[in-house]
């Protein structure tokens, strides 16, 4: 997953509005009770913005790590052994549970289970027997990226 322009806008909106709600009423001379009520709502907005920001940062770090594996990793293959749909969706994209037989040259075959959020048109293509490329971390072959 990666943040997009809407994501940046939402972080700015929640963060800016939340901060304004926290500090605006006291600066405008509102009484303590009003300030507290508005500030508590503003704090929720700020926390939402912080949460979105942390999630975005986590995805940026994960993407950088995956890029490193792509550049430096060992290329292998993963054969789909089983496909499960968790019936959970993230932004209209299904969370798929894939059981994979991963074959890394020099390491051997190992079975892994991987959960991946995929666009619908990708999820529809996941079926038993499908072979997908993987790139494995040379230091930890269990740390791999599945190319779909």
């Amino acid at each position: 997953m990666q943040i997009n322009r809407v994501g940046y806008f939402l972080i700015a909106l929640f963060g800016g509005l939340g901060l304004a709600m926290c500090i605006g009423p006291p600066l405008a001379g509102a009484n303590a009770e009003t300030s507290l009520i508005v500030a508590s709502t503003g704090a929720i907005f700020v926390l939402t913005a912080v949460g979105l920001g942390l999630y975005a940062r986590h995805n940026v770090k994960k993407a950088a790590h995956n890029d490193w594996i792509f550049q430096n990793g060992i290329k292998g293959t993963a054969t789909i052994v089983a496909v499960g749909n968790s019936h959970t969706t993230v932004n209209e994209m299904p969370l798929m549970k894939l059981t994979l037989d991963v074959d890394i040259p020099g390491v051997g075959r190992t079975e892994f289970t991987r959960r991946e959020v995929m666009p619908v048109f990708t999820a529809n293509r996941m079926e038993q027997g499908l072979i997908l490329p993987v790139y494995a971390n040379p230091q930890a072959p269990g740390d791999f990226i599945l190319v779909w």
Partner: protein
Amino acid sequence: MADLDASYAAFAAARGMELVPGVDVGQLTPLLVESTAGGQLNPAARGPLAEGVDGIVGHLAYQRNKKFRFTVALTQVPSSTPFVPRLFCIRKGRSTRDDEFYGFEARHAKLWTESTRLNERFTVTTGPYQDPNWMRQLFSPALVDWLANKPPQDFSFELAYGTLLGSVEEDDPGPDGMAALCDATAHVAERIARECEE
């Protein structure tokens, strides 16, 4: 709708295609997923899009906050999946939905090209972890020049796991428009297939 049926009947007859009342091609590409009906083309014609390239041309319409209408041409390039599982070349400014605004999306990579004309006209994206050398070979100067100058003005294409969908943002582009869409889609299909063979 009667006019649309007549257009497709005339086009199918002229191009040696078989008119089909409606066909569900499935949710195979992002545009086909947008359709709440799930890739329902109605009307549609099946047969040669161009010499040596078979496929389906059809009318895709779906309702979100407003009605979206496209004319699409669908064909297969099965050899492309190992090389480029996902490749989207979308006209800048195209809208396929207006009722969902999500802050996070599946990771993709934008293709960088030196062609100002191409960059002005299209946004080209692929899946992440795509071999950049292969992409540079696919987007040869000839293809870049062709994309920038030759296809219909509102043409876009989506390649997903061997399924290629060319599309224009018109309800009824007429015989010439449909022919141009079929020719453009077939040209892209041939170019991708040729690069996969090499």
